[in-house]
């Protein structure tokens, strides 16, 4: 039981828009299958697996591909339609970890003072206050809300420390979306998402994407702020053992601060999303 049949039903990010020029090709891996990407005219793309063309769709500045004939619908991010936001695809980073561990780390705030020191957290502000987690039955998503955390530099546009509010959505096993206090616009929240392309159960390519209110920073500054954060996480992710995510409590001991992670693991188990998870757990 490694859950590959279940994993095959989803859409996965495979390239950024305009990444491949007309005639340019690139190889890629998805769920242990070898793919060939070919750029076409007018920023189009085709993706084949063993010369079979795959279904593609465009969303959130990325191309999404599925290996299924009958895939689940792609999740939505309503904020992607708000024209006044700046949309920032941040490229791709390879990580030698389970795709599920990459998502779970993104849902975790207790590590901020130690891994993102003086940026997303700093001692002595380490306490994680009580927050709420639920499964949204209509959308079948994990939702964590009412999360508050003190952050020395919450975003590129932040000047000085602020108490930041976080909301998390997990709309698919390998996607996590974060809504956080926008330093520049009091009534809005910035959106930061992690789209994970599973190469196999222990390797993934991670495509961070942001939809922000920030009219001062350059694009390069925004991308580098996100890369700074994610690459700090990378050395953690590559050193968690076992590499695959244990779904049952017992092997790893959670606390109240891990409520989102606990719900995520239960939600994965309930839907049979075992790809990247520890067997017999």
């Amino acid at each position: 039981m490694n859950g590959i049949e279940h994993a095959l039903e989803y859409w996965y990010p495979i390239a950024m828009h305009n990444e491949l020029s007309n005639g340019q090709t690139r190889r890629a891996r998805l769920l242990e299958k070898e793919l060939l990407l070919s750029g076409g005219a007018n920023d189009s793309l085709t993706v084949t697996c063993n010369e079979r063309p795959l279904a593609l769709q465009s969303a959130f500045d990325h191309w999404w591909v599925t290996l299924s004939e009958n895939p689940l619908p792609l999740f939505t991010i309503p904020e992607a339609d708000e024209a006044e936001r700046r949309f920032v695809p941040c490229g791709v980073v390879r990580v030698a970890c389970s795709p599920l561990r990459a998502v779970e780390n993104f849902l975790d705030i207790a590590h901020f003072p130690f891994v993102h020191t003086d940026v997303l957290g700093a001692e002595p502000h380490t306490e994680v206050y009580k927050y709420d987690v639920k499964i949204d039955e209509s959308k079948d998503e994990v939702i964590a809300s009412n999360i508050r955390f003190y952050q020395p530099q919450a975003a590129k546009s932040a000047e000085g420390g602020i108490e930041t509010e976080y909301i998390y959505r997990v709309p698919a096993p390998m996607v996590a979306i974060l809504y956080k206090t926008c330093p520049q616009k009091a009534d809005a929240m910035d959106v930061i998402a992690l789209f994970v392309q599973p190469l196999d159960e222990q390797t993934c390519d991670v495509w961070p994407w942001m939809a922000l209110y920030d009219d001062t920073s350059t694009m390069a500054d925004l991308i580098q702020f996100q890369q700074l954060i994610f690459l700090q996480d990378r050395s953690i992710l590559e050193n968690q053992i076992p590499r695959k995510l244990p779904l049952d409590p017992g092997l790893e001991i959670p606390t109240r601060a891990d409520l989102t992670s606990i719900s995520y693991r239960r939600w994965l188990k309930k839907r049979g999303a075992y790809y990247g998870a520890l067997e017999n757990c």
């Binding site: 490229g91 891994v115 020191t117 001692e123 390069a220 580098q224 690459l231 050395s235």
Partner: protein, 226 residues
Amino acid sequence: MSFTLHNYVLSGNCYKIRLMASLLNVTYESIAVDFHPGQEHKSEPLLQLNPAGTLPVLTTTDGTVLTETQAMLVWLAQQHDPSNSWWPVHSKPQITRVVQWLGFASRLTATVGELRLHSMLNKPVNVTAVKTGAKVVLRELESHLTEQRINNLQWLTGDTPTVADIACFPYTALSPDAGIEHDDYPAIRRWLHRLRSLPGFITMPGIYELHELRKPDGYTVSDATL
């Protein structure tokens, strides 16, 4: 502002300059270059500044453009280290050793640095060649630091750190990003720890601060055991 730096957050070579500037307490203007995914360092405006298409690029206030990282370290120390310890001009034998290790630093970039770009950003490289090269280079550094320790010397070229230590530090420290742990290199581990303890030390992704040095307010380590 004493200079302008075309900078990329994940580059070990850019970090050398950020680190040296911080250790010397020098301020500068940083211009973020979208190395990944934008490939901006290969764009026409950047190629006009530096035809080699590499980062970092350092431009001094009088308009001099430096494109070689090791030369930037020397320039920074010459301009901003009145003690002349980071670029030890008063010791001919030591400065020869410093130049030797500045050259060695380029071999670290060409091996560990390339393997890291492959592991992280999927850069096409000859994996076997850079892996073998990385091991050769790290073993050489380990042996040298072992001999320094036997001679009671703490740093690469003597008993104080120089630009050579800064030049060799980032890609050595970042080797776990490339899948090469520091387990096999005890002398390197001690030297990395010592460098991370310097006043003014700053981090980059993959190189953490020494949390053991931080004295968090309102919290004291309990020595009481359970």
